[in-house]
């Protein structure tokens, strides 16, 4: 076991844990955001640079700080390490820059994008970015590629996080799409069009943190905040069959895997469950899926409304009589 202090909070974790995982154990207040790291995908992480943190003390034995900001998803902890995340001015500044770079070529077409409302890039830029763009240049455009009847690819929105490539590598048995070209010209593409036919290929939709890969059967059907997520399951011979159903009225518009607190899929589901079972009678509905009340998806869903608890009365205190007199 090793002791590590993140943003002034100490925690003891097993050797070999990464800073990101340790921070997540403390809680969402100190956890750095991550776009490319995905806890269920091996070797993911290290591409997007949103999880950069400052290590102010390397370890008990060697207390020198690390000279540069380090990606917390790929850096393992040392005993006595001290890490600054949101408390470090350097990290806040760097993250602002990273967001600006990620948005440099992003089309910002959220009003059209089906991912809006559950997009990690939206959350990231709201929390860490600036309100205005400084780009004057033309943004990247690509020729539209059709990658099958179930999955829609919008290459312009891709942030090259490689999560979908890792899914194709690790979950499906043979990879037929990958990253072509380099640098600014890189793009996710299929080697052979129309062949993302593997039984688990639909999971690329769930792991994609932005709207680059979306469900074609849900395309433009509804905005996510008009739908109601319900946890449901069915007996499936290919996957666990544990999903979220997205209802609009009585109709199932979309089936996705369940996501955890960090927006990462808990269990990958098969394409039959995802694309072919869109009747309520196919499923055993359990209960409303938990949605953070800060999310726009919870807007107007009064039935799952939980009274916010983090509002601290003592922080917003009314002017007392003495203060008024002064």
């Amino acid at each position: 076991m090793a002791k590590v202090t993140i943003d002034g909070i100490e925690i003891e974790v097993p050797e070999g844990t990464t800073i990101l995982q340790a921070a997540r154990l403390i809680g969402p207040e100190v956890a750095p955001p991550a776009m490319c790291y995905h806890s269920k995908l091996k070797t993911s992480g290290g591409y997007c640079r949103t999880c950069l943190v400052e290590v102010t003390k390397g370890s008990e034995k060697d207390p020198r700080p690390m000279p540069k900001l380090v990606p917390s998803c790929r850096t393992t902890i040392m005993d006595g390490m001290e890490v600054g995340n949101k408390s470090s001015a350097k990290v806040v500044e760097a993250r602002k820059g990273v967001v600006e770079f990620l948005l440099l070529n992003h089309p910002l077409d959220c009003p059209i994008c089906d991912q809006a409302g559950e997009c990690h890039l939206q959350d990231l830029s709201y929390e860490n970015g600036t309100a205005k763009t400084r780009t004057d240049f033309e943004r990247r455009t690509f020729n539209k590629i059709d990658i099958g009847s179930k999955i829609q690819l919008h290459m312009t929105r891709c942030i090259l996080c490689y999560r979908c490539v890792k899914v194709a590598d690790q979950i499906t048995d043979k990879r037929i799409h990958g990253v072509l070209n380099r640098g600014e010209a890189s793009e996710i593409s299929t080697y052979i069009e129309n062949v993302v036919e593997n039984d688990f290929s639909g999971n690329v939709i769930d792991v994609c943190p932005v709207g680059a890969l979306t469900d074609k059967t849900f395309r433009f059907k509804s905005r996510v905040w008009f739908t109601k997520p319900m946890q449901a399951h069915r007996d499936c011979d290919k996957c666990t069959g544990k999903v979220n159903l997205w209802f609009k009225g009585e109709e199932v518009l979309r089936v996705t895997g369940r996501k955890d607190q960090w927006g990462e899929v808990e269990e990958f589901i098969c394409n039959t469950c995802r694309f072919d079972k869109k009747k309520t009678s196919d499923w055993t509905v359990e209960k409303p899926a938990p949605i953070n009340h800060h999310s726009v998806i919870s807007a107007n869903h009064y039935e799952v409304f939980v009274k916010p608890t983090e509002f601290k009365l003592n922080v917003v205190k009314p002017l007392s009589i003495e203060e008024k007199a002064n």
Binding site: I112, R219, F226
Partner: protein, 179 residues
């Protein structure tokens, strides 16, 4: 027991002769009425004379088209989610090839309805719209005989090409100052 200290004893006193004639009271009342006949009127004869509205008056909505006549709205649903009265509903559809002159974006509102009876004319939809599509105007919502007619569809809301609605004044008042 006395409940309040405002109770008053009622006295029935004898009326004087002038009071019993009632005429002075009638003339006093008439003179007030006649005085008002010559005062400036507080009301207007509505359809002929119209009151001048503030540039940001919030009346009937309009769905704008752009300079080339394409509909601005892309059915993003932000107006509907921001509407406190839940008055707005919409259905999106994908623009087909050959419809580029009708809709500005890849997605458009195939159906767009505002229930004018639910609407509280708060203007939040206008503020939420990222596409410059919905504006409240200084037009008054007409009265109807049935409630159903107050659900305005795209046929009423989208501005007509030969009857464009000028919202430049509102935009001036609404523009966000970036520094």
């Amino acid at each position: 027991m006395q409940l309040t200290n405002r109770a008053q004893q009622v006295v029935q006193k004898e009326m004087t002769l002038a009071e019993r004639l009632y005429l002075p009271a009638i003339f006093a009342g008439l003179s007030i009425t006649i005085k008002h006949l010559f005062k400036k009127k507080a009301t207007l004869k509505y359809p002929e004379v119209k009151r001048e509205f503030a540039p940001v008056y919030r009346g009937q909505h309009v769905l704008k088209r752009d300079a080339e006549g394409r509909e601005n709205c892309t059915a993003c649903g932000l107006c509907a989610v921001s509407c406190p009265a839940e008055a707005i509903t919409m259905d999106a559809a994908e623009r087909k090839a050959g419809e580029e002159h009708l809709y500005r974006e890849e997605k458009y509102a195939a159906k767009y309805e505002i229930n004018m009876l639910r609407c509280i004319y708060c203007g939040l939809c206008e503020e939420a719209c990222p596409k410059d599509a919905i504006y409240l105007t200084d037009r008054i919502v007409a009265s109807e005989f049935t409630r159903g007619k107050f659900v305005y569809g795209k046929d009423v809301l989208v501005e007509k090409m030969d009857d464009r609605i000028d919202v430049s004044q509102r935009k001036k008042h609404y523009s966000i100052v970036n520094n």
